[in-house]
Amino acid sequence: MIADIVAHSLRAYSLIFAFAIVGAVIWLSYGASNLFTKGRIHGSAIAIAAGLVAAYVSGRMTGGPKGLADFPALAGFGVMGGAMLRDFAIVSTAFGADLATLRKVGPAGALSIVIGVGLSLVAGAVIAVAFGYKDAVSIVTIGAGAATYIVGPVTGAALGATSDVIALSVAAGLVKAIVVMIGTPLWASRIGLNNPGAAIVYGGLMGTTSGVAAGLAATDPKLAPYGAMSATFYTGVGCLVAPSVFYLVVRLLTGEA
């Protein structure tokens, strides 16, 4: 009886429940950061990694695509971590950003988006070819997935790719996002990611908004607005280039044109 009442409360207040859990996870993560790593590994990095592990375990248990949010009592995570509040919070971080810096490194940021999209498309396409894909539609769709998990399916749908190739492209984009989330704090100092200019370039090169948003949060939240700003333009550029110019080039190379 008590269990039913508790479960009812948690479902009725699922977003509130998510706030409470995330608060507890962050508290534990910052404690662990101080206790075990003397603050060397950022508390938010630990919290984000814990979130990813929880998402993996949940996915295995429920078979669903939404991590923790596939448990009815934890559906609030889907709202809290969904695109609506994520974008709202990302925009709010711009309040601390410096307009003059943005203006100064804007051109380098724009260039990094174009180069970043190009590099990802080529990387994904080369891997697709190495794994035996021979038709331009599949090669381009997998390449587009290596850009972001939105560019992949948008491109695949536009070109008429098969559903298993589209699923692969989404997976490639997810892998990228997760690697960027976990990896950014690990390699930040080695690639000089410690100033707003470098963050703008990094966001433009990586392009995965969720990956960059979480990666920079775990590295230095002050850099987050700069990286997120350029990353949000990347998916649009990818959706523009992948099914058009890139597809035509790949078709020439595969001899389909």
């Binding site: 990813l52 994520r86 000089g192 707003p196 370039v201 979480a214 949060a217 550029v237």
Partner: protein, 120 residues
């Protein structure tokens, strides 16, 4: 009033999103072209300048700063709702393609950062 800050933030995101979708439609792309980035620029334009009277209002500040402080918790919730199981069980093509894209970007990052000239 705190709600003023929240409302300004909301208006920026909505205008940015609509602008991003319009740009996408104009260039024939089925996606939002930089809507969040446009929203960030709008917010900076409204509140980011030194002489901004809006930004000087404590209510406006607190409404925006609350959401900025919620950024990391929201990102943690986002991480907990990723389809990690699908990503890890998708097979070698997807995993290697994703890793290769990150690796190439990492190689290019220091070169382009130098071009950006820091800007600290």
């Amino acid at each position: 009033m705190t709600i003023y800050g929240v409302a300004i933030l909301a208006a920026c995101l909505l205008v940015g999103d609509i602008a991003g979708r319009l740009i996408g439609a104009a260039i024939g792309v089925e996606a939002n072209v930089g809507g969040v980035g446009i929203a960030m620029l709008l917010l900076l334009f409204l509140l980011g300048r030194d002489q901004s009277r809006l930004a000087a209002s404590p209510g406006v500040r607190s409404g925006v700063e609350f959401w900025a402080a919620m950024y990391i918790p929201i990102v943690v919730a986002m991480a907990a709702t990723q389809n990690v199981a699908a990503a890890l069980s998708s097979g070698a093509v997807a995993i290697i393609a994703g890793l290769a894209a990150v690796a190439l970007a990492l190689i290019a990052a220091p070169l382009l950062s130098r071009l950006a000239g820091g800007g600290a």
